[in-house]
């Protein structure tokens, strides 16, 4: 699972504590992705002007036949006729909305699993909107794995700073991870539960 998808799932869990509505906005004609994004910004401005307390998450999906369209997850009931009127004003086409149970809040994450198209490079495939809530951002997440914990242990031991000798660092952390799995060491410690600093680096390559 990518970090972005994990952040989206956590954000949708936060949003999903209330009732949810899943919206899909599409176009009648096929548009370029840049035009779609512009129109989405316009539509979002109109929606937030009309419903200032609206909160939600939006996901871009590049469909292989219908181009880019937008899925929204919102936590507030809004009049679909009014939303349709605003969508027409922003030159959008079809609108579809359905209620979703809060446990299905992560449904839209499936669009984030698709392979990213070249034209969407560096795009935010999903984003939160609305005032009064804090959605999880990618920068807020930390990964907790055996490797990351071993790497942090090595970093502390060797006083690594910056990105110098990155591949050598990765190789050492990987070597220690293999030894940890093979010998059942405690994570972050060498043999007999001793910290890495009790040993020489060569020991991890040639002795254990």
């Amino acid at each position: 699972m990518s970090k972005s998808k994990a952040a989206f799932l956590l954000a949708s869990q936060t949003l999903g504590k209330q009732q949810l509505f899943l919206w899909t906005f599409t176009f009648k004609d096929l548009l370029s992705v840049k035009d779609t994004r512009k129109r989405w910004n316009h539509l979002l401005t109109l929606l937030l002007r009309r419903w200032p307390k609206l909160q939600g998450l939006r996901v871009f999906e590049l469909h292989k036949e219908h181009g880019l369209h937008v899925h929204l997850l919102t936590n507030q009931f809004i009049d679909v006729n009014e939303a349709r009127r605003l969508a027409l004003q922003a030159n959008w086409g079809r609108i579809h909305v359905t209620r979703v149970p809060s446990e299905h809040a992560g449904y839209l994450a499936k669009y984030l699993s698709k392979q990213r198209a070249e034209c969407l490079r560096r795009w935010r495939l999903w984003a939160g909107f609305g005032a009064g809530w804090e959605w999880t951002k990618v920068k807020d997440l930390i990964r907790e794995t055996v490797f990351s914990r071993i790497y942090r242990g090595c970093k502390e031991w060797k006083q690594w700073q910056g990105r110098e000798k990155f591949f050598e660092r990765m190789a050492l952390a990987r070597q220690i991870m293999l030894l940890t799995i093979e010998n059942g060491w405690q994570i972050g410690c060498g043999p007999n539960g001793l910290p890495y600093s009790s040993f020489e680096e060569e020991d991890f390559w040639f002795v254990f």
């Binding site: 956590l10 936060t14 997440l141 930390i142 990987r174 093979e182």
Partner: protein, 127 residues
């Protein structure tokens, strides 16, 4: 799994890796939101095997995500160290000579055809 079955599956295009089982470990894998403390966690098993992915014997790691358990302590590894096992890979990467694979299921022990009661390779079947 018999050797002939492994070959048959390989020729059918399945992604298989045969390696000598060294050890395994289960860990909690996931992301933690450092702001709220909420976490998305699942159990991931790591199998350490020896195989010849680079032409020489080398150690590789195969990851398996376990959605059926929530506690890494519950993961059991009834495998025999030093024995050959077949891993059914879903994907793999080779980065700077290190092989890492992903599988959706546990490995199966490799058996010689003779062990399973079949005729050894190159020997005519019994009449």
């Amino acid at each position: 799994m018999q050797r002939s079955e492994v070959v048959r599956r390989f020729l059918r295009g399945e992604l298989l890796l045969v390696g000598e089982y060294r050890s395994a470990r289960a860990e909690s894998d996931g992301y933690v939101d450092r702001r709220t403390g909420e976490a998305l966690v699942c159990v991931r098993c790591m199998y350490l095997i020896e195989c010849a992915c680079r032409g020489t014997v080398d150690r590789s790691i195969i990851y398996q995500r376990r959605l059926d358990i929530t506690d890494p302590e519950l993961a059991a590894f009834p495998y025999e160290k030093g024995r050959l096992y077949v891993f059914f890979l879903e994907g793999f990467k080779r980065e700077r000579g290190n092989f890492t694979g992903w599988t959706g299921r546990g490995p199966e022990p490799m058996e010689d055809d003779t062990e399973a009661g079949a005729t050894p390779e190159g020997v005519a079947p019994a009449p």
